[in-house]
């Protein structure tokens, strides 16, 4: 990539050394602002209540894993994790599956109303969940799917399908059509070309889209709050939010839960980072 130096050099009033110092000072400040909350989350998760409230300090004095034990053993956090894995996994499989077909169709086929379909996907992608949750609650109640993980997966499709379709259209556009055309000349069907050429070539993109869809479902709070009431069906965000709305604030275990639920997502994000930035320039990942 071309390294552009937009402000550099010509600013003669500043000496290069001073510029360097200013640059690194700014960066250090930004780094502190980014890291401090994360650091706080981790240290609180390692502190006992008396250290959190009575002897507040920037460094943990007696780090302990007690909060993690309490969260997992006494608060049943593993059930939350299992529920989230099931819901996010099913949502991802369903929506990436459907989206692959649709994106393939939109990128490689020619037919009327394609522009309309594209616009519908973009509209759906921009439609906020906060607008849909009331009618969805009526629909889910009518289908008698309230308070089930099944029902949650279905309502999650409202945001995951537009998201994954939108992203996949972007990735498929970047894959040259020539190879598929050659395979078709050699007698393969269109779908065969998709399965044998396009999909293997887009594997990193598919993985990235899978990761975004999975994390979007893993992170979702509003719909889970509305549709799940049974304690045994609570997802991770739901489990943690019930810990703050309880009578006693269990900040230690809450932060332990925060660490456990953020860690896998952060790791996945950084794995998909390269592809994410591509998707980002398409303005297409909800943040």
């Amino acid at each position: 990539m071309a390294a552009v130096q937009p402000i550099g050099r010509a600013n003669r009033s500043w000496s290069p050394v001073l510029r360097r110092v200013a640059l690194y000072a700014t960066l250090a400040l930004v780094a502190l602002a980014i890291v401090f909350p994360v650091y706080w989350m981790v240290t609180i998760s390692l502190k006992l209540p008396r250290e959190i409230y009575r002897l507040p300090g920037l460094w943990p004095q007696a780090p302990t894993l007690e909060n993690y034990r309490e969260l997992i053993v006494e608060r049943g956090f593993l059930i939350n994790i299992r529920n989230s894995l099931v819901v996010a996994g099913a949502t991802t499989l369903a929506s990436v599956g459907m989206s692959t077909l649709a994106a393939f169709s939109i990128v490689r086929f020619r037919y009327r109303f394609k522009g309309l379909v594209g616009r519908l996907i973009l509209f759906a992608y921009l439609t906020p969940t906060s607008l849909l949750f009331i009618p969805l609650s009526v629909i889910v109640a009518r289908l008698q799917l309230g308070d089930t993980l099944y029902g949650l997966v279905i309502v999650y499709l409202t945001f995951s399908v537009p998201l994954s379709t939108w992203l996949l259209i972007g990735y498929f556009r970047g894959v040259p059509a020539e190879l598929e055309e050659q395979a078709m000349v050699d007698g393969t069907t269109r779908l065969g070309a998709m399965l044998r050429i396009l999909l293997p070539l887009s594997l990193p993109g598919l993985a990235a889209v899978g990761i975004f869809t999975f994390t979007a479902a893993w992170n979702e709070l509003l719909l889970a709050l509305i549709f799940i009431t049974n304690e045994n069906r609570r997802t991770v965000p739901l489990g943690l939010q019930y810990l703050i709305t309880g009578d006693v604030f269990l900040w230690g275990p809450i932060m332990a839960g925060a660490v456990l639920s953020a860690l896998p997502v952060i790791v996945l994000y950084f794995l998909a980072q390269r592809y994410m930035v591509q998707g980002l320039t398409a303005g297409s990942v909800k943040g």
Binding site: V4, N11, P128, R173, Q241
Partner: protein, 307 residues
Amino acid sequence: MAVVTVPGAGVRGERRRGMGFAGRNALTGYLLLVPVLLVLLGLVAYPFFYAIYISFTNRVVGIAGEWVGLANFRYLVGQPSFQRAVTNTVTLVVVTGLAKLVIGLGLALLLNERFRGRGLFRSLVLLPWAMPGFVAFLVWRLLFLPIGGGVNLLLQQVGLLDGVIDWLGQRSTALPAVMVATVWRGFPFWCISFLAALQNVPTELYEAARIDGASAWQRFLAVTLPAIRPVVLTVALLSSIWTANSFENIWIMTQGGPSDATMVFPVLAYFGMQTQRLGEAAAVSVALVPALLILVFIVTALMRDEE
């Protein structure tokens, strides 16, 4: 804007394809769309219009209700909590938007320069955004605690604060505190988008401007800004849509309190739903639709331009 860069692909092939057996092709194309179309129509489009319909009825949970015209909206306009939601949403969108613009653009310009550790820093910037939203806002709620919160502690250690501030517990500081957390979580999206746009500005333009004797500031105004303008606009609009409709930042940090100081549309709609009065609750979300549609139409137009 370099949306989904298409490295010379597709265009030629697309034209060549689809001649001859176009009819059969189109049918396969439509069939492949069916599952996604079912979801979009059944789970997005239908609920969208259904929400609008419900907002004109006095529906409660379990009873369909009757058409009441604009009664729900008239009722809402007189409600202090709704008025707070309107002003808070505007404040939230404008202030956090400006903050994210300044921080995001400034940082993108810095990260576009060459220095040691640049790659590492570019990854670091993503961290707040890679965190799940509910985790980020839980952490910020904890940070703003009067006792045991990191913000007070940090300010005390630096000597800026004597005593404690209950940031989220008092009306004057609750919304600013929520905005700080919202900016923290949201600025990486702006920064990374701007950075990608900056990297696509042709170097020759800067060279030409330099030869013409333009100062750094003039180059920024004449070259950088016009080149990244579409990206800035798109990001600002997308982010406005998301911020105006964000639930979890407010819900986790303040639940709209203290006494509606941080009330926003989605939280108000959620409370409305809990009281079972679906008509009014739907009206709360639907009240945002006109503004939302304007933003969506502009975004759609922008994104189509780029293709």
